[in-house]
């Protein structure tokens, strides 16, 4: 633009010069024009000057023509140029100026009038255009000038943006540092590592000279220098906590600049010559587990703080920037969190260790308890056998003794012996039963039995005692009470006996009544038994028995104790009548096993007492019924259960052979007897369904016979069932039988019933192993 300006200025100067000359020419031409029609150039006297002018004009013209070309060329090249019209004007102006100068060249020599006319035309045009251009420029030049100003402005803006970019980058880096620091701090749960890492990372990020952490002491009255960055082993340097500067720092959660001269900052001897570096301190909250209540997130009142002090390098003229302070605050918070996590972890580890110890202790205690129980059970089992055997002997022999001829005093003595030993036997049984009950190892032996018979038997047993005491016993069985029931007959009888026995025992006079009926749902639930939920079903019914006596009654306060072991009512009656106090406890266990409930009702002392129990019994199916009835009939009278069953009996002892044969014939079998194993193997055929063989015979062993039979009949359904008869009861023998493939074992001597049930089982299951 400046060049354009220069050129235009030159153009103007030229115009001025030209105009002056023309004026001069005009004056001289008007004089000479009268003489001839040609224009005479103004050849001044000095030709040299003219020559120079000629050359200059030439060059000027050249320049003038080349400028617009250049302009056009460059403008065409540039994409943006807003002043096209101005350019055209300018171009025209310059071209005309050039043309003028060019035509001027002809005027240096003799030239015709035409040339003069052309010259004049061009000059006129040039004048017009140049004036127009001048006018145009007035508008444009300020614009052009302002472009420069704008450029300057933009440059400034760019510089500013650069600065801001730099700032943002710095902040981002700081942020990154914070994240990295946090990550470092939080990647460990060990207290010391956390704090050490904090100091190291901070020192690195912020290029600190020294970084220190002051922790409050146990008393809370002093701050102790705990960690420093440079000094490896900080001495236990303490500072009282109540310094004003410290209070100031603790009162706000911002990082504050403090004086390098205050006690917490005077950590190192002055390194630099001039200014120690600026120091900043920030508080680090120490959160305890107890601070983590749901509702009140850490209260300020119970806060303990540690102090973190950071020092910039001395003589560095560095200042703490805002973003650096922010970084420090963030780090302090993170450290607090990390420390609290570490504390929680420690706590939970401790709790877990404690739990493990307790678990071990508990396990040990449990095992000891189990061992104790096992030892007790073993003891009881041994005692069971050991005690019962002599007891049995005593009772048996005493009763036998009773049958002999005795003097009255001898008889009395024997009776006492018998009574005492019976009592002892009962006691032993009771204790053993109870211990088995408590273990839960007692299981009811289910079977079908005659319910009515049970009651009658109990009645019969109790009648003698009652008649001695002159008590009246009545038995009422409801008409809808089933005759047969499925359950544990023995235990039911035991319970009933105990309850009735108690009734009789505690009644000095009056009567005892026993009522039994089927409990309907309404009467099943009792307010006294809130957790007894009887559920009647198709195959079961609930038997309810009430035993009412007119005896001493029970104090209502004593009712809960009744069923506890060994607890007795200390009344005269009970002390005299003896008993271990176990009876009711055992009854209760039995009744519970039968999914029932037992309780006592009494209106008070001297008003009698009613014992009530409800038990769940099964209803026998009809087939069971018939089987039962069948089974109860005495065998004999030629019951043929196994008509035509082909049986082979092998026994070398003629007597036992004929006995076994007689048994089987009685049961309706078709019996063939052999007396040796060779004969057996010869005779045996597919037709025989069962082979009874006496084991331990001379000749081929019974085992071998079994093996041979297995070889002879490979298919199972062809082979006869093999049953061994033996007097040997040990386990090894039984195992041997199983090994050689016997289907069953019977212990000699064999009763008719046993043989019958053996055959039944065999034929049904094709296997029988009698419990030996």
């Amino acid at each position: 633009m400046f060049e354009v300006f220069v050129w235009s200025l030159m153009g103007l100067v030229d115009c001025y010069i030209i105009c002056c000359r023309h004026v001069k020419e005009g004056v001289s031409t008007s004089i000479k024009m009268e003489s001839c029609n040609c224009i005479e150039p103004q050849w001044p006297a000095d030709e040299l000057l003219m020559k120079y002018q000629y050359i200059s004009d030439f060059f000027i013209a050249l320049a003038y023509f080349s400028i617009p070309l250049e302009l056009i060329y460059f403008v065409k090249k540039s994409a943006v140029f807003p002043y096209r019209w101005v350019l055209v004007q300018f171009g025209a102006f310059i071209v005309l100026c050039g043309a003028t100068h060019l035509i001027n060249l002809w005027t240096f020599s003799m030239h015709s009038r035409t040339v003069a006319v052309v010259m004049t035309t061009s000059k006129v045009l040039t004048a017009v255009v140049s004036c127009a251009t001048a006018l145009m420029l007035v508008h444009i030049i300020p614009d052009l000038l302002s472009v420069k100003t704008r450029e300057l402005f933009l440059k400034n803006k760019a510089a500013e943006l650069d600065r801001e970019m730099g700032l943002i980058r710095t902040q981002e880096e700081t942020g990154r540092h914070v994240r990295m620091l946090t990550h470092e701090i939080r990647s460990t749960l060990d207290r010391h590592t956390i704090l050490k890492t904090t100091l190291i990372e901070l020192g690195r990020t912020l290029a600190l000279e020294e970084c220190a952490l002051w922790m409050p002491t146990r008393t809370g009255l002093e701050l102790q220098l705990s960690y420093t960055l440079r000094q490896q082993n900080p001495v236990g340097y303490t500072v009282p906590i109540q310094l004003p500067v410290i209070n100031q720092v603790f009162s706000s959660n911002r990082a504050m600049k403090i004086s390098p001269n205050c006690p917490v900052a005077r950590l190192r001897p002055l390194q630099g010559k001039y200014m120690p570096g600026e120091v900043v301190a920030v508080r680090v909250p120490l959160l305890h587990l107890s601070n983590f209540q749901i509702n009140d997130w850490p209260e300020l009142s119970t806060k303990r703080y540690a102090l973190m002090v950071l020092m910039l390098p001395a003589d560095s003229a560095r200042q703490w920037h805002v973003h650096e302070l922010e970084l420090v605050e963030v780090v302090a918070d993170q450290v607090a969190v990390a420390l609290s996590h570490a504390a929680i972890l420690e706590e939970s580890m401790r709790a877990r260790d404690l739990l493990m110890e307790q678990n071990i202790a508990l396990d040990l205690a449990r095992r000891e308890a189990e061992t104790a129980i096992r030892a007790r059970n073993d003891f009881l089992a041994v005692m069971n056998h050991e005690m019962r055997t002599p007891m049995h002997a005593i009772i048996a022999l005493s009763s036998l003794l009773q049958e002999t001829e005795l003097t009255p005093e001898q008889r009395l003595m024997v009776e006492t012996i018998l009574k005492s030993s019976n009592l002892l036997a009962t006691l032993v049984n009771d204790v053993l039963d109870l211990s088995r009950l408590e273990d839960g190892s007692l299981q009811l032996e289910l079977g079908t039995y005659n319910l009515h018979a049970v009651f009658r038997e109990v009645l019969n047993l109790i009648k003698p005692i009652a008649s001695v005491k002159k008590l009246m016993i009545t038995l009422n069985l409801a008409p809808d009470l089933p005759e047969y029931a499925v359950g544990d007959e023995k235990r039911l009888m035991q319970t009933l006996l105990n309850v009735v026995g108690n009734a009789v025992k505690f009644s000095k006079e009056g009567s005892v009544s026993i009522t039994a009926f089927v409990a309907k749902s309404e009467s099943l639930r009792d307010s006294r038994a809130p957790d007894f939920f009887p559920v009647p079903s198709e195959n079961h019914f609930y038997l309810r028995v009430q035993v009412k006596d007119s005896g001493a009654g029970i104090n209502p306060q004593d009712t809960p104790k009744l069923f506890t072991k060994f607890a007795q009512n200390q009344t005269l009656v009970t002390r005299n009548s003896g008993g271990s106090g176990l009876g009711l406890a055992i009854c209760k266990r039995f009744v519970n096993l039968m999914e029932g409930h037992i309780w006592l009702e009494s209106e008070g002392l001297g008003k009698g007492c009613t014992a009530i129990f409800i038990v769940k019994l099964g209803i026998p199916e009809h087939s069971n019924d018939s089987k039962l009835a069948f089974g109860q009939k005495m065998s004999g009278h030629g019951q043929t259960n196994f008509p035509g069953l082909k049986v082979l009996v092998m026994d070398d002892n003629s007597v036992s052979r004929s006995v076994t044969k007689g048994l089987l014939v009685h049961l309706g079998c078709d019996v063939m007897v052999v007396s040796s194993s060779e004969e057996c193997l010869r005779v045996i055929s597919q037709e025989h369904q069962v082979v009874f063989m006496d084991v331990c015979m001379p000749g081929i062993d019974g085992y071998d016979v079994a093996v041979h039979i297995h070889e002879k009949f490979t298919r199972r359904h062809e082979r006869p069932l093999i049953v061994a008869l033996t007097g040997n009861t040990d386990k090894v023998t039984k195992e041997n039988f199983m090994k050689v493939g016997m289907d069953g074992v019977i212990l000699k001597p064999v009763s008719l019933e046993k043989m019958r049930s053996v055959l039944l089982d065999l034929l049904e299951h094709r296997v029988l192993f009698e419990a030996m």
């Binding site: 007597v655 014939v665 009685h666 001597p749």
Partner: protein, 151 residues
């Protein structure tokens, strides 16, 4: 009292005594149960078999025990047989002695064996007499027109 009833009563009493005194046990009852119309002499037959068998065995035992070199295995086998037979009919006393006899055999105690043999012979004779008496009574009852009562 009726003669038949008296005889029956005698029979019952006698049988009971046998049981009480331990000569017979439950097994004998079993045998009696096996006797029915299709098998009316079952008990007698079996008991006769027992007598025969036992006598044979006792003779054998006496022979073996007289020898110089006693084959205890054989002795044991015979005693085992005797034990089996006696237990099959319920001759309790004989059975018990047989058990003791077997122990002596195991110990290879010659004197013990001799003693046991004598004991067994004694017991056997006792039982035999008792059973024969029993059977005689039964015959008498049957002859008088009664039936043998079931125990």
């Amino acid at each position: 009292m009726d003669a038949v009833t008296q005889l029956q009563r005698q029979l019952v009493d006698y049988t009971n005594t046998l049981f009480h005194e331990g000569f017979l046990d439950e097994q004998f009852n079993q045998l009696q149960q096996l006797q029915d119309e299709s098998n009316p002499d079952f008990v007698v037959e079996v008991v006769s078999l027992f007598f025969q068998d036992s006598e044979r065995l006792l003779n054998e035992l006496a022979k073996i025990l007289e020898q110089q070199n006693i084959d205890f295995k054989k002795v044991d086998a015979h005693v085992h047989q005797l034990k089996g037979s006696s237990s099959s009919i319920g001759a309790q006393t004989v059975q018990r002695v047989c058990i003791a006899f077997r122990n002596s055999c195991e110990e290879k105690n010659i004197e013990g064996c001799q003693k046991c043999l004598q004991h067994v012979k004694h017991e056997y004779t006792l039982v035999k007499n008792k059973l024969e008496t029993l059977f005689k009574l039964e015959q008498q009852v049957l002859a008088a027109g009664g039936t043998i009562p079931m125990y």
